[in-house]
């Protein structure tokens, strides 16, 4: 690599790590929103009333068929008084909830019919049936898939820079512009992503195997 300025890279690192904190925060909170909201959508999707299921479907289709970037910019324009990071977390969470809800749905469908029947035979109410029997089994089945969505959300956090969230890539660009060292700053940012997400993927694969049977 010709002319890679190691000094500039070392110089940029603290800034990037500061941005990385924001990246991590957005990923963790965004994943939390996606995990909880996705679950709520999946359970609502099984509601007996169409007044619940149809609106949920429509909103989900809308979110899934528009790009994340457009949703971010749109939400930031709509709620201009809200802090960009908050908007970023909510939009990421909601966007991914439309995917995690499908994952949960498959997990719920994967719980054998006999489990529902055992609950009914024991007169367990709907709340207890979901809480104690169905969801623990469904969530266990889908944990690896949820983990993989968390990783892809992590890699999409740079979009938040567009609405001025000072995450890692935002900082990299700023450093690059200020010191005319784009190559160094972006290479380093890429490396940080790699170092963080590769072991996490491996961990997920391991988890998948362990839960596999």
């Amino acid at each position: 690599m010709n002319g890679f300025d190691w000094n500039a890279a070392g110089d940029a690192l603290p800034l990037l790590l500061k941005g990385f904190e924001v990246t991590l925060l957005a990923t963790v909170l965004g994943t939390l929103v996606a995990a909880v909201l996705g679950l709520a959508i999946a359970v609502a999707g099984r509601a007996p009333s169409r007044w619940v299921t149809v609106p949920v479907r429509v909103v989900m289709e809308f979110i899934r068929s528009t790009p994340l970037l457009v949703q971010l910019v749109g939400a930031a324009a709509l709620f201009s008084s809200v802090e960009p990071l908050t908007i970023g977390i909510v939009v990421l969470g909601v966007h991914y909830a439309t995917y995690t809800s499908e994952v949960y749905r498959a997990g719920i469908d994967g719980v054998p019919k006999g489990q529902w029947e055992a609950c009914r035979a024991l007169s367990l109410g709907p709340r207890r049936t979901w809480q104690a029997v169905i969801l623990p089994q469904a969530v266990r089945n889908v944990l690896p898939a949820l983990g993989n969505y968390a990783i892809s959300m992590f890699k999409e956090t740079p979009f938040l820079a567009v609405i001025t969230v000072q995450e890692m890539v935002f900082e990299a660009r700023k450093y690059g512009a200020d010191h005319f060292a784009y190559t160094e700053a972006f290479t380093l940012a890429g490396l940080v992503f790699l170092v963080a997400s590769y072991p996490t993927s491996l961990l997920m694969r391991k988890l998948e195997k362990r839960l596999g049977h």
Binding site: R120, A121, L122, S123, G125, P136
Partner: protein, 286 residues
């Protein structure tokens, strides 16, 4: 003597449930009022009529076995009683009250709400062919989950009772095990303990030994004959095991094509059946 004679009148107003305390000396099964009564029950799946105006009854404390060819509707009968399925027509009476209907002010019967069903179900327990234990809970939680959350039993009390039941089914050592760590026979015993923990008046058993390895069957059968002998639970069993019918039940009902072909004590049905259908069926399975 084909089907069982039915009382000519429907039971009058439902007797309050506590009218017969469990400890009171009960009437001999041969003479008591029916605890379960199928009254012209029809069950259809689409165009397929599984039960066609079925009538039969089971008295309190009776142990009844349903036999009959595959597809004759035996499982369907148990699932209707457990309210896992809805009747297409007719009424099932349990202890003098309609099981899945409520009486409207004008005296007609309307399908009951899920909440009503949940209440009605409490008197009935079921053991499934595939056990259906909760794999995410250990044995103790499997047994205490419903008593604590449905009957509102104190957790400590429910656990004491679970220990007694595990003792009864011979699995005291497995209290902390998860279902996946148990053999089929052990899982089925836990499932029996789980059903008994709800103190049901009626226990439904659907081919509870047919998913078991042959060497595990005897243990479960012994346990069930034990329960049949030592409790006053009313039992309705479906089985292909004629030993089971003989050991556990006092009465066998032979079903075919959604009707009771004949009924009687196991010795009679197995050695000297009156109907050709029964004879052919027994020849095939024995």
């Amino acid at each position: 003597m084909a089907t069982e004679p039915l009382p000519l009148q429907k039971p009058a107003a439902a007797a309050p449930r506590d009218a017969v305390p469990a400890t009171a000396p009960r009437a001999a099964p041969e003479t008591g009022p029916p605890l379960v009564r199928f009254d012209d029950v029809v069950k259809r799946y689409g165009d397929h009529v599984v039960l066609d105006r079925l009538n039969f009854s089971v008295r309190r404390g009776e142990h009844v076995t349903l036999i009959g060819p595959s597809g004759s509707g035996k499982t369907t009968i148990l699932r209707l009683l457990m309210t896992l399925e809805k009747v297409s027509d007719g009424v099932i009476w349990v202890d003098g009250s309609p099981l899945s209907h409520v009486a409207a002010p004008d005296g007609s019967l309307k399908p009951a709400s899920e909440k009503h069903l949940r209440e009605a179900r409490k008197k009935i327990g079921m053991v499934f062919q595939q056990f259906n234990l909760f794999p995410n809970m250990n044995v103790l939680r499997n047994i205490t989950e419903a008593p604590v959350n449905v009957l509102g039993m104190d957790r400590a009390e429910a656990e004491d009772r679970a220990r007694e039941l595990l003792d009864l089914v011979g699995l005291s050592g497995k209290i902390d095990a998860h279902p996946s760590q148990l053999s089929g026979g052990q899982q089925q015993r836990v499932a029996i303990a789980r059903a008994l923990a709800m103190r049901p008046e009626i226990l439904l058993l659907d081919e509870v030994t047919s998913a078991l390895d042959p060497e595990l069957v005897a243990g479960v059968l012994d346990l069930l004959s034990d329960i049949a002998r030592n409790t006053d639970i009313t039992m309705v069993c479906v089985t292909h095991e004629m030993n089971f019918a003989r050991d556990v039940s006092k009465k066998v009902l032979m079903f075919d094509a959604g009707h009771v072909v004949e009924s009687g004590p196991p010795e009679k049905i197995f050695s000297d059946p009156e109907h050709e259908r029964t004879r052919a069926f027994l020849d095939a399975v024995l």
